[in-house]
């Protein structure tokens, strides 16, 4: 399975890979995580046509799914993987989603007041956050309770904080590795 974004789909190498994988019927699943931004540029302003159509041009089976819907992505992935495993060649999934975070965490600092999207848009998409939505789905199906989900979140937050503390307390990288790792024979 190969994952890339709507930004990368504008690179010529994308077409090359569609061609080679179809030509040789490779067991490959393309997953385009369509998050609507190419770094700091809205995808729609730099993209002609539909990205999935590029795969359709090679007669690759395509599915465009709501990338924020865990069950929909699961079902699309299961079909695509089955197709790829059957030896018929590649399959393609375009998962529509949104990049809530910045292209990088500190982007407010260097954008220096400049903006490429509205806060209101981010807030709208935040309501569609796939993790919280899937949590609600699990509760509604009686798989687990809200308090169980909360305790999982608390536990995982603790694991992450421990990892950060461990990293900060550890020795910095061994700079000699730069030399050892390259050309080891």
């Amino acid at each position: 399975m190969t994952f890339f974004g709507d930004g990368a789909a504008n690179q010529g190498v994308f077409m090359e890979c569609l061609n080679v994988s179809t030509l040789w019927q490779l067991p490959l699943v393309f997953v385009c995580e369509y998050n609507h931004f190419c770094e700091f540029t809205p995808t729609a302003t730099v993209t002609a046509g539909e990205i999935a159509d590029r795969a359709r041009a090679f007669k690759i089976p395509c599915e465009v799914v709501d990338g924020n819907d865990v069950m929909a992505v699961r079902s699309a992935a299961a079909k695509a993987v089955e197709w790829a495993r059957s030896g018929k060649g590649p399959a393609f999934i375009e998962a529509q989603t949104y990049r809530i975070q910045g292209h990088l965490e500190s982007e407010d600092l260097f954008l220096a007041g400049g903006k490429y999207r509205e806060k209101q848009e981010i807030d709208e998409w935040r309501k569609l956050d796939p993790i919280s939505h899937f949590g609600q789905f699990l509760v509604s199906k009686g798989v687990c309770t809200t308090s169980q989900l909360d305790s999982i979140s608390t536990k995982i937050a603790g694991v992450v904080e421990d990892a950060v503390r461990f990293a900060e307390a550890s020795e910095p990288a061994d700079s000699e590795l730069t030399f050892d790792v390259m050309f080891a024979g």
Binding site: E16, C17, N19, V20, L23, T178, F183, A184, G185
Partner: protein, 323 residues
């Protein structure tokens, strides 16, 4: 020992390594037909699972080389003309050269990229480049410039068995040059220069395709009483500084002859090393006979004007010795 042509030595190395290790695979544009002759016969012997024509898509080919190598294949990627390396440069410079470091040494990249380089046959600007300085500067690739059939065979076999990516650069149009090649199992270690001719008055470092004109110039110079020591580095990364420096300490004069453009080149790099490590032995400035900062022209006379030649080598060497 047997006399073999340069291209035949490369072909033998490919056959032997594919026989020796079933993980060796070969792919590239027109490799099945083998337009350079170096991959001739491989398809008939090993089949399309191990040698295969690809579309013209160097960016993907270089990416495929990295992916296949990481998953356990020993990859030989044939890029045809070295100018086509440019189209594949992202995966070469950003993946091939860097993944070993970026994974903390967890992945090995046994990749050999073959490409023909150089001018002299009117293949024009877009098929005549000599790109080794560019590759030398990436900081994660071996760069091999075999000048003789024996070195071509030995270095290619060594590269295919290696753990790191290597660029094996064939001198275009020199496939018919012949030389002695040792029989049986034969490899050439990286980073070990050859002293192609011993001499006392001047050291000439001859890179790849320039070995031939340098050796004939040395013969001419001998007749005028100038004794030339010719060093063939054979690999530019890693580079055998020691052999070059030792020779210059002995002769006191140094000249580098290379078919690549002069600016930020193998020649300027070697000149810097000599200046650094053999400064007190130098009796004259270090000279470089290279290609000016221009594209290779198409017209045969214009090409001859740009490429280093025997007469120029003789003239510069003579002047140096008279200094």
């Amino acid at each position: 020992m047997a006399r073999k042509r340069y291209i035949q030595a490369i072909n033998e190395a490919l056959f032997e390594e594919m026989e020796r290790d079933p993980r060796v695979i070969v792919f590239g544009e027109d490799v099945e037909l083998a337009i350079f002759g170096d991959t001739r016969g491989l398809l008939e012997r090993f089949g399309r699972d191990r040698i295969r024509n690809t579309p013209i898509c160097e960016a993907t080919l270089a990416g495929m080389a990295v992916g296949a190598a990481v998953t356990g294949y020993r990859v030989v990627l044939h890029m045809m003309f070295s100018n086509f390396i440019y189209t594949g440069f992202d995966a070469i410079a950003n993946q091939m050269a860097k993944l070993r470091l970026m994974t903390g040494g967890q992945v090995e990249l046994p990749i050999t990229v073959i490409a023909g380089y150089g001018g002299g046959r009117s293949t024009a600007a877009q098929h005549s480049d000599t790109p080794h300085p560019l590759l030398m500067n990436l900081g994660g690739l071996n760069v091999l410039v075999p000048a003789t059939p024996a070195d071509a065979k030995g270095l290619l076999k060594q590269a295919i068995r290696g753990r790191n990516p290597s660029f094996f650069l064939e001198a275009s149009g020199r496939g018919g040059d012949s030389g002695e090649v040792p029989d049986g199992e034969y490899t050439v270690p990286f980073g070990k220069a050859a002293i192609s001719r011993a001499g006392a008055d001047i050291t000439v470092v001859a890179i790849g395709s320039m070995l031939k004109p340098v050796l004939s110039a040395a013969e001419k110079l001998q007749s005028t009483g100038i004794s030339v020591e010719v060093i063939d580095p054979r690999t530019l990364v890693p580079l055998d500084d020691e052999t070059i420096v030792r020779s210059v300490r002995k002769t006191g004069r140094a000249m580098i002859v290379d078919e690549a453009r002069d600016r930020c080149s193998a020649a300027s790099h070697i000149a810097a090393i000599i200046a650094d490590k053999a400064f007190s032995s130098l009796r004259a400035p270090i000279k470089r006979v290279t290609v000016p900062n221009v594209s290779m022209p198409y017209a045969p006379n214009a090409e001859r004007r740009v490429l280093p030649n025997e007469d120029e080598i003789v003239r510069v060497a003579t002047k140096l010795v008279e200094t």
